[in-house]
Symmetry: C2
Subunit: 496 residues, 2 copies
């Protein structure tokens, strides 16, 4: 069994979470560990893949999952393999598989009705909707963001936040006037200025690495700078993209260089503001992930975000924090930006994934002055809020944010030990809570590590060109961390 040597986890914390060691309830006992019976994907997954590829392009499919048999932190596949899941449906399962509290949610008659009578929330919300928004979404709202809009998924949430930013920016330019000129009303129907103005949203790329990921609808995609395959053949907007800091690890040994990275990035942001202003496409907002995830788990310091906020304020542009992946607890706080001590609340904060519903929070001044501007038929789905309500209850009663911090320490210490032991294979351990990553020394090395992890019973995720990212459920406990570290050690040892 892997034992973390470097840092001691206070025993009192560990004891508090001993219940997680053997699965969180008696009814839904997790297995003691992974169990691999076939190659992965095995013959049954391969047969299903063939079936599915008759119906759609499915080259991205990794394995077919048996959702009946998956439990807690363990995912079961079509071939009877059981893997410790550190990726959890691209970071979107807050409590793992088949959590009993979630399974019980729809034994309630009125919750079933919410599933069946899906409203057009913008026109005919249910009588319990304002209360539901307060009890669920506003109960965990980032401080200072007392407005919330619900949407269906991350990309729509990001696009709606862009709209809120554009509306706010243009209303400010009109000096607060809430009517439109005839020329605006006419030109907009031809997709032309001034009604459809030339305006931009700035995002970030990492030098030598991949960059921001904000979704794949056309507006969001214009700010996404991850992989070419996400963007090829699609027309896009002429929007600026600033260099994101590229830190060296361990942080304490590269303080000066990393500060330089912050400075360089912020200077580039200022430069692009000027450049696009001159081009006649002013920047109305800047969108940034608190941790650039898909792009390679690229971090920036609290000071970077504080200064970025100040720059946006000075340019009268909105700062949009994209917490689709970082939100809902994996960094040990509800919202990752809580680690940054921002002097004032962010303008807009987008969410989805672990929050189960998409949407965004906003400061009050981002409420559009007119109706029907950020709108669609469904505008979210009340049944997802019902599930989220249970999730938030479990996070609170089972102290899952504390658990994330505790497990995160075990994981990070263990990873540090492994990077010392295998410096020719992995390095740059980084992250907050259990939202952790490390780099392989090459893309080929990463392929080998991921292949071995899977063979040895761990389902992992990758990001950037050489990074391995950990995205376990919030119920991932020190016990799971030890199993993971054991298997990672074995997987590294197996690479000759």
């Amino acid at each position: 069994m892997f034992r973390v040597k470097k840092t001691k986890i206070p025993t009192v914390i560990l004891k508090d979470f001993q219940k997680f060691a053997s699965g969180y309830t008696k009814v839904h006992k997790e297995p003691d560990g992974p169990c691999v019976k076939t190659e992965i994907p095995g013959p049954k997954s391969k047969a299903l893949f063939k079936e599915l590829s008759d119906i759609q392009q499915c080259g991205s499919v990794n394995l077919f999952t048996d959702y009946e048999k998956s439990v807690g932190n363990y995912i079961a596949d079509a071939d009877g393999n059981i893997l410790l899941d550190t990726y959890t449906q691209i970071s979107s399962l807050p409590l793992g598989y088949n959590h009993p509290e979630l399974l019980n949610t729809f034994s309630n008659d009125s919750n079933i009705r919410a599933l069946v009578n899906r409203p057009a929330l913008g026109v005919f919300p249910g009588i319990d909707w304002p209360q539901k928004l307060r009890d669920v979404l506003l109960s965990v709202a980032p401080k200072g963001c007392n407005q919330v809009m619900t949407m269906m998924c991350g990309a729509c949430s990001v696009e709606s936040a862009f709209k809120a930013a554009f509306i706010w920016y243009c209303t400010n330019k009109r000096g607060g006037k809430t009517t439109f000129s005839d020329e605006e009303l006419k030109s907009v129907m031809d997709n032309k200025a001034p009604g459809a103005p030339k305006l931009a949203i700035m995002s970030f790329k990492a030098p030598l690495l991949q960059g921001a990921f904000h979704g794949r609808t056309f507006g969001a995609l214009a700010t996404t700078r991850s992989k070419p395959i996400h963007k090829l053949d699609f027309p896009s907007f002429d929007w600026p993209c600033a260099i994101f800091p590229h830190y060296k690890y361990p942080l304490e040994e590269h303080k000066r260089e990393n500060e330089e990275q912050d400075k360089k990035s912020l200077a580039h942001v200022c430069e692009l503001f000027e450049k696009w202003e001159k081009k006649g496409i002013p920047v109305a907002g800047v969108i940034v992930e608190p941790i650039q995830s898909e792009g390679g788990d690229n971090h920036a310091s609290p000071e970077f975000f504080q200064q970025l906020q100040a720059i946006c304020a000075s340019k009268c542009a909105a700062l949009i924090l994209d917490e689709v992946q970082t939100g809902c607890g994996p960094t040990g706080k509800m919202w990752c930006h809580e680690h940054f001590n921002l002097p004032s609340p962010p303008d807009l904060v987008t969410f989805s994934k672990k929050m189960l519903t998409g949407g965004y929070y906003a400061r009050p001044e981002f409420k559009p002055p007119q109706a029907y501007r950020i709108f669609n038929t469904w505008m979210g789905d009340p049944s997802k809020l019902i599930l989220l309500e249970q999730v938030l209850k479990v996070i609170k009663t089972e102290k899952l944010l504390d658990l994330v911090q505790c497990t995160g320490k075990v994981l990070k210490c263990g990873l540090h030990e492994l990077e010392c032991e295998f410096p020719d294979k992995i390095n740059s351990v980084r992250g907050r809570g259990t939202f952790l990553a490390f780099d392989a020394t090459s893309p080929e090395m990463r392929d080998k590590i991921m292949g071995n992890l899977k063979k040895n019973g761990v389902l992992g995720g990758v990001c950037g060109t050489t990074s391995v990212r950990l995205r376990p459920a919030l119920t991932f406990a020190p016990k799971h961390a030890e199993i993971f570290l054991d298997i990672l050690k074995k997987s590294l040892q197996q690479i000759k």
Copy 2:
């Protein structure tokens, strides 16, 4: 009671649907008719509106709904009013409220698990997913469209169909080659050609009327030409917009003029293909609604759509039929374009709303040659397919498409009688199945009609500048039609 005089509905058909006259089951008996107790919105709805407006811009809210008390074709509001619903959550409730077959869906344990264990469908689909796609979505696929992708909502479905069209167009331009040049791979990360090429999607506007509606995300919104408020302050693409036919009614009295409208529109389509080609922004696809809904229920003939398909084929552009509002039965056929006798299958057909899940169908050549090009975290939601499966079962066993045709005849005959009786108030009755509309003689007249309808117990919908649209559930029976026609007559009489 309103009795349709002009056209006789065959008694045998009416008899077959007598059960619908008193609600479809004993357990879920519908009221005998609407019951209005307060002004609408009443005091409770107004108080809730105030609550909600602290949290978000909610000026679009019409009334707060009591989803527990709403049943079948009747919607109940916060103040205890019960209205006959001819709008059904912007046309998105296939079977009305609290249908017993839907309420029973999640008594099944494995269906509950599908709700709780939401997969990232593009990476870890469930073992039952290929079968589910076949049993549910492919069982009602438009002929010749054997590919299907699931998405979350209408706008995402439209944007994904655009992507499929762009990928297909660019792959063709490359002569089928499935690799990319270094220049493409590099330029796309800066949102520049050739990787992010200048390409367009053509859509339609109606002269004097409003135009197409395809959604509100930035790609979809560039083809939406409905109201300025949907588009103001948002940057957009320089994409062409052709004139849609503008018919006069009754059709049989305006054959020649309406044919001229078709010709004019199709000539404009050809002209715009040329013009945008010269601009250096070739048109890769044309998107069109079989009935332009939000824009005013504007119709075009089968011949128009046949010729539009031929033009697209000759220009090597994709034809995308947006059946988000027309799909799933309201026109009396599963897909509205089945009325058009197209010589070959449409390239792409988008759906959402009554289908409960978003997505698109496609001809096999629109399957992208590479993975991860049309992709996001969730890619739909299996729990919505489970509900849709029940919906399709009910449509079949209860012969709802026949019912739609039957009720549609009753409604249309009645509306024709009313337009003869009140020519100074309404005209231009049109539509297929129960997907019907008529025009008021002015926007003010429409306001009066809508106000009276609500006072008298009917919740209706509007579109365009002067149109009233009917979007009842598929369970709307002749009995409901008669109640509606009675109330509409009364509402028209009340306008002095």
